[in-house]
């Protein structure tokens, strides 16, 4: 009885050790970081006359994944969190990059604005997994109304 208990303990120990080694190991895998100090001339805020309030909201809520510069939290240094974020940011930028706004054709700008509006309206963006940690990124009903009204105006002009 005692013996089998001991071997069981050993097995558990080995498993924990393997997991620890794996965890340490993946810390060495490099990830691409989405950071840039330069705001390109084509940025949404530079080519549009955006009211301060709207600009702040969009910067805080959208720019982490939809621009070339992410304000990373400290835990992004730890894998596998960094991988998860890298993937999100890559997809986000593919879909919409506010930094490249002026490079979009007018047709594309219109369809992007339409999608931005409907995503915010339906609470699909910002992602709930994101607002869970970034409380300030979520939209209050008042924020939603203001941002959507302004974006709709921009779209229809």
């Amino acid at each position: 009885m005692l013996k089998s208990k001991l071997t069981k303990m050993k097995i558990v120990k080995i498993i924990v050790l393997v997991l620890l080694v794996a965890f340490v190991g993946i810390q060495f895998v490099p990830t691409e970081r989405n950071q840039s100090d330069v705001v390109p001339k084509t940025d949404f805020m530079l080519v549009n006359d955006v009211p301060k309030e709207i600009e702040n909201k969009l910067q805080v809520s959208c720019y982490d994944c939809h621009s070339n510069n992410t304000a990373y939290p400290w835990y992004n240094k730890i894998q596998p969190v960094a991988w998860f974020m890298e993937d999100h940011i890559k997809k986000g930028k593919e879909e919409l990059n506010f930094n490249e706004w002026a490079d979009y054709s007018d047709r594309r700008k219109k369809s992007k604005l339409k999608s931005i509006i409907s995503q915010i309206k339906d609470d699909e963006m910002p992602l709930s997994s994101y607002t869970l940690i970034h409380k300030d990124a979520s939209f209050s009903e008042d924020d939603k109304k203001k941002v959507i009204t302004w974006l709709t105006q921009l779209k229809d002009n």
């Binding site: 340490v24 810390q27 060495f28 950071q35 330069v38 490079d103 007018d106 047709r107």
Partner: protein
């Protein structure tokens, strides 16, 4: 007791390597960032130069597109007058595959089928990739490319999203396909229908109204705005 000490020791070592590793990483990262920054700034200069070029170009496009937007607005206002007026366009069979795939999506949405709409999206992507751009004149190529870029993006979203999302992208897609027909023409007889609830248009191959934006909910809601060919 000895075993406990041993495992404590192992844990300590693991933590030590971890902190060392992350410190190293951080340092490396800093270096990287610095390098990256200088790289970025040279790149930036580069791209700025390019931008200037493309900017000039864009202005041209912008005015072009604006006039289009204007046109759209006009035709919406003219709905009542334009009704029952047949408009003939250039007879062009090259756009048929694209239009057929568009109808595949439309008819799937009419029957509330997400799966078939997704299949239609795939078919539309294929039709665009098969389209022979060599047949385009220099004047139409740029606009075609913008329309195709947008339409393909809508199609990709239609392939992978739930039906309410598909319908949203179908709205934009309808504008794109309508503009494509205005630009290049078709040899099909088509109907431009209007949904007063959504305030958007869609194209149909049949004269009967079958509304793709609401499906079975409001199947016959809408009217024919114009007949093409």
């Amino acid at each position: 007791m000895r075993k406990l000490k041993l495992s404590m020791g192992i844990l300590a070592i693991v933590f030590a390597t971890l902190t060392v590793a992350s410190c190293k990483d951080a340092k490396k990262e800093q270096n990287n960032e610095e390098e990256h920054q200088s790289e970025m700034s040279t790149e930036e200069n580069h791209s700025e130069m390019n931008h200037d070029n493309s900017d000039g170009h864009h202005d041209e496009e912008a005015t072009h597109d604006n006039s289009d937007g204007h046109h759209d607005g006009d035709s919406a206002e003219m709905t009542s007058e334009a009704r029952d007026i047949a408009v003939s366009t250039q007879k062009n069979g090259a756009t048929s595959a694209i239009i057929d795939a568009y109808f595949q999506i439309k008819n799937a949405l009419v029957t509330d089928s997400k799966e078939n709409a997704a299949k239609g999206g795939t078919a539309l992507l294929a039709a665009f990739s098969k389209f022979d751009m060599k047949t385009l004149t220099d004047g139409t190529r740029q606009e075609y490319m913008e329309i195709a870029e947008s339409a393909k993006e809508q199609a990709e979203h239609i392939v992978e999203n739930p039906i309410d999302h598909q319908r949203e992208h179908f709205e934009t897609l309808s504008t794109d396909i309508n503009d494509l027909i205005t630009l290049l023409g078709t040899d099909k007889t088509l109907y431009l229908d209007y949904c007063p609830m959504k305030k958007v248009s869609w194209l149909s191959e049949t004269k009967d109204i079958k509304n793709p934006f609401y499906g079975s909910e409001m199947l016959t809601c809408g009217n024919v705005k114009k007949q093409i060919n």
